[in-house]
Amino acid sequence: MNPCRWSWIWVGMLSLQWGAALAAELGVSVEVPALKVAEYHRPYVAIWLEGEQQQIAAHLALWYQTGKGGPEGEGTKWLKDLRTWWRRGGRALQLPVDGMSGATRVPGTHVLHYRAEHGPLAALAPGSYRLQVEAAREVGGRELLSLPLDWPPAAAATLRTRGVHELGQLNVRLEP
């Protein structure tokens, strides 16, 4: 991971804020690792904020094989392999969800950006949450990364963790 590249991403996100009213922001960067395996399929990934009772407080992203035309049939049937997300509430969703679900991503770092007043964070009550990122890969493994955070953030902070199998670096940037 190139640290210079990271800092530019954060600077870019911060610059978005200058022209807007002051409101908390949440940036998530997720690395889908390149894997040297005999049969590679891009992973399904779910990203959500979970409350203290383990309920899903905000669905942030879901990457899966959308549509029906795939050579392996309808992609929704593998969503249950995101076991934790499925139990916590994914199984009750009607897909696709606008602004949340999308196609699987190629290996590399993917950046998501959310503002307090828009989208999934607009209805988020102040409190303690965990940002959860779960990845499951066909004929591969499953991995869940978790970063605790308070919302809205009291101070700017960057939270970091790293996956071992199906996820690479996970960074969360909080802006008050």
Partner: protein, 266 residues
């Protein structure tokens, strides 16, 4: 909370644990946590080992599948093989399905020409086929349930209602929402009332690849409830049986049993 009537307590004192049966019957679903529209294959067998097919198939005559809306669901591709029977179920509805085989009737054994004869059938057939004055006649009223569950999407409860007869499992934790490290609460009813003091045996599958059964024994409380903290993932076999005074005139005993296959995810 509510009080258990004294009659229920006295009644449950009559219940005796049964000796373990020599073979284990089970329904084995290919998956239990699914997306609506998916298909599962269910195998049904009587075996010594869990969950392998090494004795005989389980007959599907008394199979009944209850869909999430409470209606009866049809199964496809029934077949009976040498060691196991099998069928497919399409989970067209969202919610929890109950897949069940229920058998009730009479079993009899008696001496005839120096040999022990055995018979099983309905109460009507009993009168015609079993000589009532046969020497050494032993008649047992049996009521057996063998079940498993599968859920498409989020769990629902409508398929899990009590019928009010026999030994029934009323899960308080959805039966397809079982995860290692968590504790499930399950209740037993006997003829519609809480079955207290029932010994419940739970055995994880994969017995061929270990030296011990690794069984877990639980006993139901006054409300028929027991709790189970799952220590390993996989298919688990759950079994309970009680023996009591018969409810049929011809019988000497009544044996009521319940078996389920439950999947625990990591």
């Amino acid at each position: 909370m509510y009080r258990i009537p004294t009659a229920v307590i006295c009644f449950t004192l009559l219940l005796l644990p049964l000796q373990a049966l020599p073979h284990k019957a089970f329904l084995l679903p290919s998956a239990t946590v699914l997306v609506p529209g998916e298909t599962i294959t269910v195998d049904a067998a009587v075996s010594n080992d869990l969950f392998y097919f090494n004795h005989r198939p389980l007959g599907l005559e008394d199979l009944a599948v209850t869909a999430p809306d409470g209606s009866d669901a049809a199964v496809d591709n029934r077949s009976v093989g040498a060691l196991r029977s099998s069928f497919d179920l399409v989970l067209t509805q969202a919610g929890t399905y109950r897949i069940a085989i229920r058998r009730s009737g009479l079993t009899a054994s008696w001496e005839e020409a120096g040999e022990r004869r055995r018979w099983r059938g309905s109460a009507q057939a009993f009168a015609a086929e079993v000589p009532s004055d046969a020497p050494g006649l032993q008649v047992t009223q049996i009521d057996t349930r063998i079940e498993t569950f599968a859920t498409a999407g989020a769990p629902t409860w409508s398929a899990l209602k009590s019928a009010g007869s026999g030994l029934e499992l009323l899960p308080e934790t959805p039966p397809n929402d079982l995860v290692v490290g968590e504790t499930a609460a399950l209740r037993f009813l006997l003829d519609g009332v809480p079955a207290a003091g029932v010994k419940v045996t739970l055995i994880p599958g994969g017995t061929r690849y270990r030296d011990q059964q690794a069984e877990v024994i639980a006993v139901t409380d006054d409300e028929g409830r027991f709790r189970m903290k799952w220590d390993q993932p996989g298919m688990w076999w759950l079994n309970a049986a009680v023996e009591q005074e018969p409810k049929a005139d011809a019988a000497h005993a009544r044996r009521v049993s319940y078996t389920a296959t439950l999947e625990v995810l990591p």
